[in-house]
């Protein structure tokens, strides 16, 4: 295996992932030896507004996909309004390709708990919830254990560390619904309803959980907070770019030699990431990839030098998303890949709004027809037309996300579609897949 060049290696910035190397860092005593809860002591000694200012200063942006400035979000919470405030952590990791939050909660759960306490103190919340994906059972075991330990040690509960500040934290397991990663669907689910998105406005900042002011943040966002409190905003900004500050966990999967988690300075390019991951697998050439999960438009080999920060990926026509970088080669078919993603969106559509519920249902059927060798040229127009009627017309981002791979694969790989339609590529699905189709 060739060693990556020094310049590329230096883009590695192990911050949030660092404790994963210590096998017992999920235990409180080990966590405390590794700077654990030092940030909490520092944070509780200053005014909550100073913490909001610090996070604003750091330029931290949400790690759940949208990249919204975290400090600004915290600042939206009305103060002295007499209502209870809530912090809700979105740990419903499920965006296809994304696998950064589960290892974090499994190997370093206290860093999330510590972040929760600091963030709750900053927004004046006395109750916090971690809504964790149901299937993430081992992460939930470790997290529940960590919460128990934190209560016993006086980091949670009444009068935390003698400061008079109270906080209760509940780890709440979901039950298998991708849509609950959408923040308002998550809140409905946490209130004991079907996980269906709410119409906005009003936004969760004023009408969130139980119609009270609520901050919903991703695991990576909240777990970043203790490091910013410890190292300061200026240090945080030594990593990343001007508008996309800090380190980011890039989750590399697919046709590379060493798939895995690579925490790097934001703005690293795919070429550099592939170099870190030992290169492409033998016999595979990069053909298409997702910068941040299946809801972000596919990019092609020509985009290999795009800097993976929020602005640059947007300029290239996609979205940084969750930095779930799925790498496909010349041996993978973009039409089939898109079809499988659509099956996913069709299954996960909550059914609340018509464009997403019906559009995905029909697009799946069109893909089956194309992949069975029964497609027509008109099908391509139907796909674009349907996608166009979902994008921007759905209740939430799930519908928009579903169209990403459809329109981008048609943009970059139309020939692959034509090859199925015109009989140059052998059908990938049997006619049985069409059973029941109209």
């Amino acid at each position: 295996m060739t060693t990556p060049s020094k310049a590329v290696l230096e883009k590695l910035t192990p911050v949030l992932t660092k404790r994963w190397l210590s096998p017992d860092a999920w235990r409180l005593d080990v966590y405390e030896r590794l700077d654990g809860y030092a940030a909490l002591r520092k944070a509780l000694a200053v005014h909550p507004d100073d913490l909001i200012a610090l996070i604003k200063d750091s330029g931290l942006r949400g790690r759940g996909g949208a990249g919204f400035p975290t400090g600004l979000k915290w600042g939206f919470i009305p103060q002295n309004d007499g209502k209870p405030h809530y912090l809700v952590v979105n740990a419903d990791e499920g965006e296809p390709g994304t696998c950064k939050d589960l290892p974090l909660m499994t190997h370093d759960p206290h860093s999330l708990v510590e972040g929760v306490i600091i963030a709750s103190y900053a927004i004046r919340a006395n109750r916090a919830y971690i809504y964790i994906r149901g299937e993430a059972v081992h992460a939930a075991r470790r997290l529940r254990h960590a919460v128990q330990e934190a209560y016993k040690a006086g980091y949670l509960g009444k009068n935390i560390l003698g400061t008079g500040y109270d906080l209760d934290l509940v780890v709440h397991s979901g039950a298998g619904a991708y849509i609950c990663g959408e923040e308002t669907a998550l809140l409905d689910s946490l209130e004991g309803f079907r996980g269906q998105p709410r119409l906005r406005p009003p936004f969760p900042a004023t009408h969130g959980l139980y119609a009270s002011p609520t901050v919903v943040n991703n695991v990576g966002t909240i777990a970043s907070v203790p490091y910013i409190v410890l190292g300061g905003a200026a240090w945080w900004k030594t990593m990343g770019t001007e508008k996309s500050s800090g380190p980011m966990i890039y989750s590399l999967s697919g046709r590379i030699k060493n798939p895995g988690q690579y925490e790097c300075s934001m703005g690293i390019t795919l070429r550099e990431l592939i170099e870190l991951a030992g290169g492409m697998q033998d016999g595979h050439q990069l053909r298409f990839w997702t910068p941040g999960g299946s809801s972000t438009p596919l990019l092609a080999a020509e985009h290999i030098d795009t800097a993976m920060d929020f602005e640059s990926v947007a300029a290239a026509g996609s979205i940084l998303g969750t930095t779930a970088t799925q790498i496909f080669s010349d041996q993978d078919c973009p039409v089939y890949a898109t079809y499988r993603w659509l099956e996913f969106y069709h299954h996960e559509s909550c059914g609340k709004c018509t464009p997403c519920r019906e559009g995905n249902y029909w697009m799946v059927r069109v893909y089956r027809r194309i992949l069975s060798g029964e497609g027509t040229l008109e099908d391509l127009d139907t796909l674009l037309d349907t996608a166009g009627n979902i994008l921007g017309r759905s209740f939430c981002g799930l519908g928009d996300g579903a169209t990403s791979s459809v329109t981008s694969s048609l943009q970059y790989f139309k020939q692959d579609y034509l090859d199925y339609i015109e009989g140059r590529t052998a059908p990938k699905l049997s006619a049985a897949a069409l059973a029941g189709a109209h």
Partner: protein
């Protein structure tokens, strides 16, 4: 049709239901519904009409309200399940890496399709959407603990082991338990098995970037935990 019976739920389960409800603010007990549904599944192996009635009774909801929620979420099973829920990821990445072949062969060997249970009541098979372990693909889970980089042969062996009463150790995650036992954990109760929380070292893919950095002595410069937090609020107060 007989009316649902909630007396299948013991005093212990009722006590647990009270514990769950107490986690949420006064008057917001409906928040307890998801963990309550996991709780009834831990007793019966699925969410039966009895389970729906029990949740409704405990939370002051109608059975229709509970049923509407129970049927929305994939993890609540509507028919009796096996001891082991085998979920094979067939979403795009695992799929192209071989997950579809794993699912197809398992399905054929076990003689069951998606969301169906083998006659001996041991295994319920399902194809799953992204399980958030793409760096280990193709993956499958047994009661949601991971078996990484599976092949059709490996999956068939695993199924044979489960059917013969063995409990192979997952690649990552804790030693296996039954789906009912797992559902109790999902209801928010600690895994009481000695050592289970400690099970499961970090996998190689999880640590790859870190090991590379460690090997080459790389860490972000200038990290000083004593960096003071600026206090603009004090300045403003002056």
């Amino acid at each position: 049709m007989t009316a649902p019976k909630t007396d299948v739920f013991t005093d212990e389960t009722r006590e647990r239901a009270r514990e769950i409800i107490a986690r949420y603010p006064e008057g917001k007990q409906r928040s307890a519904l998801l963990p309550m549904l996991h709780l009834v599944q831990s007793v019966e192996g699925y969410v039966s009409p009895n389970g729906v009635a029990f949740c409704a009774e405990q939370l002051g909801l109608t059975k229709a309200q509970v049923g509407a929620v129970a049927t929305f979420y994939t993890m609540y099973k509507r028919r009796p399940t096996g001891d082991y829920l085998v979920s094979v990821c067939t979403n795009t990445m695992c799929n192209v890496l071989g997950g579809q072949a794993v699912y197809d062969e398992l399905s054929q060997a076990l003689g069951v399709g998606h969301d169906e249970t083998t006659e001996d009541g041991k295994i319920t098979l399902e194809h799953a959407e992204c399980l958030a372990a793409c760096d280990y693909g193709p993956v499958l889970t047994v009661n949601y603990d991971f078996f990484d980089g599976v092949t059709p042969e490996g999956a068939l062996q695993l199924a044979a082991d489960l059917k013969s009463g063995k409990r192979p150790m997952p690649t990552r995650g804790a030693r296996l338990c039954t789906l009912k036992e797992m559902s109790l954990q999902l209801a928010g109760f600690a895994d009481e098995r000695e050592g289970a929380v400690a099970d499961g070292p970090a996998g190689d893919a999880t640590l790859r970037g870190l090991r590379l950095a460690q090997e080459h002595g790389i860490s972000p410069a200038g990290f000083d935990i004593n960096t003071p937090i600026p206090t603009p609020s004090k300045e403003a107060a002056k």
